[in-house]
């Protein structure tokens, strides 16, 4: 009797296990829920048709946007002018002009009653603080930047001289002013900068002062020739982006959300600087190298 019961229970248990195994295997055969091919195909046609229309509209609007190289940077003339305006308005004393010893600024040979003498005025020293009143870009084309520069200021100069044989020293106020058009050539440097190189140009610095030396009254006006490219050094405008990026790499040994950071060097090459539609353009190709 006990044997019969045991056998019966054993059979039930074995059948139960087998049934469970079958269920388990069947469940492992369940398929991933995906739409049928026909349904996907229908959607593909529908989406493609709509996309074609939208793409056509977008492409027509951004036709002007060209990317010749991996990275293209465009700087608007207005942005540069806003920077230059701040530079001009920042302070009143932008340039210092020092008057050096200049002999015989004025020389007048006289002969009175057979006696010869010379009236003269020398500049001993002087200083004028010049204010950059304005610097504005007016044109950006043909790889050149054209700007109007206006500077002015006043200061004092010390003069000495002789009038009818009598020596004297005085000091006088002096006014200086310059307004002219200047140009910078836009050059590319291989280190990710745009070089703004002043194009040589003779400018006239208007000088005005009055000399009163022993009742010798001389209003003095002089245009001093300045070479623009001597006064302004080439300006490097940095354009390149970061040259080093830490690349986060997942790792088998790291927990989710933890990464190995490997620094990589970004090299810019084939760089090019130019002007286009009143914009300053800089472009480059890149390559990336892991830093060991």
């Amino acid at each position: 009797m006990i044997n019969l019961i045991t056998n019966y229970n054993l059979r039930i248990t074995v059948f139960g296990i087998i049934f469970l195994l079958i269920l388990l295997f069947l469940s492992s055969c369940s398929t991933i829920e995906l739409p049928p091919v026909e349904e996907s195909n229908k959607k593909i046609i529908e989406y493609r048709t709509q996309l074609q229309e939208i793409d056509k509209f977008i492409n027509s609007k951004n036709a002007e946007l060209k990317t010749e190289k991996d990275v293209d940077i465009k700087v608007q003339k207005e942005m540069l002018n806003r920077m230059l305006a701040v530079l001009a308005n920042n302070r009143k004393e932008d340039l210092t002009i020092l008057f050096l010893k200049t002999k015989n600024l004025i020389k007048d040979d006289k002969k009175v009653l057979g006696i010869e003498y010379t009236n003269f005025v020398d500049i001993d020293k002087g200083q004028v603080k010049m204010d950059l009143k304005s610097l504005k870009l007016i044109r950006l084309e043909k790889n050149k930047m054209e700007a109007i520069i206006e500077i002015g200021g006043n200061g004092d100069i010390s003069l000495s001289g002789k009038n009818t044989g009598i020596s004297a020293s005085i000091s006088s106020g002096v006014d200086l002013y310059l307004k002219d058009n200047v140009e910078f050539k836009i050059e590319n440097s291989n280190d990710g900068n745009i070089i703004l190189r002043p194009i040589p140009k003779k400018m006239k610095l208007k000088t005005k002062f009055t000399i009163e030396l022993l009742k010798w009254n001389i209003p003095w006006r002089e245009e001093i020739e300045l070479e623009f490219s001597d006064i302004i050094s080439p300006i490097s405008v940095p354009m390149s982006l970061a040259t080093e990026i830490d690349f986060p790499f997942p790792s088998k040994s790291k927990k989710p959300g933890q990464f190995n950071y490997i620094p990589c060097k970004i090299n810019f090459f084939d760089t090019k600087a130019l002007t286009e539609s009143e914009n300053l353009i800089w472009m480059a190709n890149i390559n990336i190298m892991k830093i060991k």
Partner: protein, 252 residues
């Protein structure tokens, strides 16, 4: 009784073979066309939604590309960045590691999609599955950096290279059912510092002029410092445009 067991075992064998559970597979065993079409449809749907958004932006009155400074990256640049991840390894879950065999990004109007070809290996079942993981490329601003993130939205098996079909199916199922947001944790954000040098040095110099009046002109060195702020990031076919605005300028 013996007969009963033999009969049951035969039935089980029949069922199992019907399910191809014991069938060793290499590149076969699932309906690749179904996956392929479902993937294509999903990508197109996503592209359409993004393109619609961009199209609405372009219909706005605010002029396009009228930024103080703009940086445009082309598709090749994005691919050069992503190519660094070729052969990178990681874990999909505790038992499944992967190696990135290939990665390609495609820039479209309104969206950018990166497709990672992952060779996943499940240790428990000793199965290798070549998977195609499609991710949306997102670009965010974080301080002065551009943060390139990839957001997985689709996984499709391409082929099973080693293993048992049932196990392959299980691993594929598991991966596809896996919360894609969690998978995102395996794909780190890439920070691209957008630190276009925010300083223009104006070099100083000293010039002696010998003329009717002798002069020395002293031009002191100055720096124009400025801040740029990201205004907009737009995806177009084969390019990404980051528009920046000049925020603050000072001279020191």
């Amino acid at each position: 009784m013996k007969f009963s067991y033999t009969f049951i075992i035969s039935i089980i064998t029949l069922i199992l073979s019907g399910c191809t559970v014991v069938e060793h597979i290499a590149g076969v065993g699932f309906d690749s066309e179904q996956f392929e079409k479902a993937r294509e449809s999903k990508i197109l749907e996503l592209r359409l939604k993004s393109a619609e958004k961009l199209s609405k932006r372009m219909e706005l009155n605010s002029p396009l590309f009228d930024y103080d400074l703009s940086v445009a990256f082309n598709e090749e640049m994005v691919n050069k960045l992503l190519a660094q991840y070729k052969d990178a390894t990681g874990m999909l879950d505790d038992a499944t590691d992967y190696v990135i065999k290939d990665v390609k990004a495609k820039l479209e109007n309104g969206s950018a999609i990166a497709s990672f070809e992952l060779l996943a290996h499940n240790e428990t079942h000793n199965v290798d599955v070549l998977l195609l993981l499609d991710c949306l490329i997102l670009i965010d601003e974080e301080k002065k950096d551009l943060v390139l993130k990839v957001e997985p939205f689709n996984i499709s098996p391409i082929t099973t290279t080693r293993g048992v079909y049932s196990a392959a199916k299980e691993i594929i199922n598991k991966m596809i059912k896996l919360n894609l947001a969690n998978l995102n944790k395996s794909l780190p954000p890439l920070k691209i510092p957008l630190n276009i040098e925010n300083k223009i040095p104006i070099p100083g110099n000293k010039t002696d002029i010998k003329s009717k009046i002798n002069l020395t002109i002293v031009n002191p060195e100055r720096n124009i410092k400025f801040n740029l702020k990201i205004k907009e990031i737009l995806f177009f076919k084969e390019k990404i445009v980051v528009g920046l605005g000049l925020e603050k300028v000072e001279v020191e």
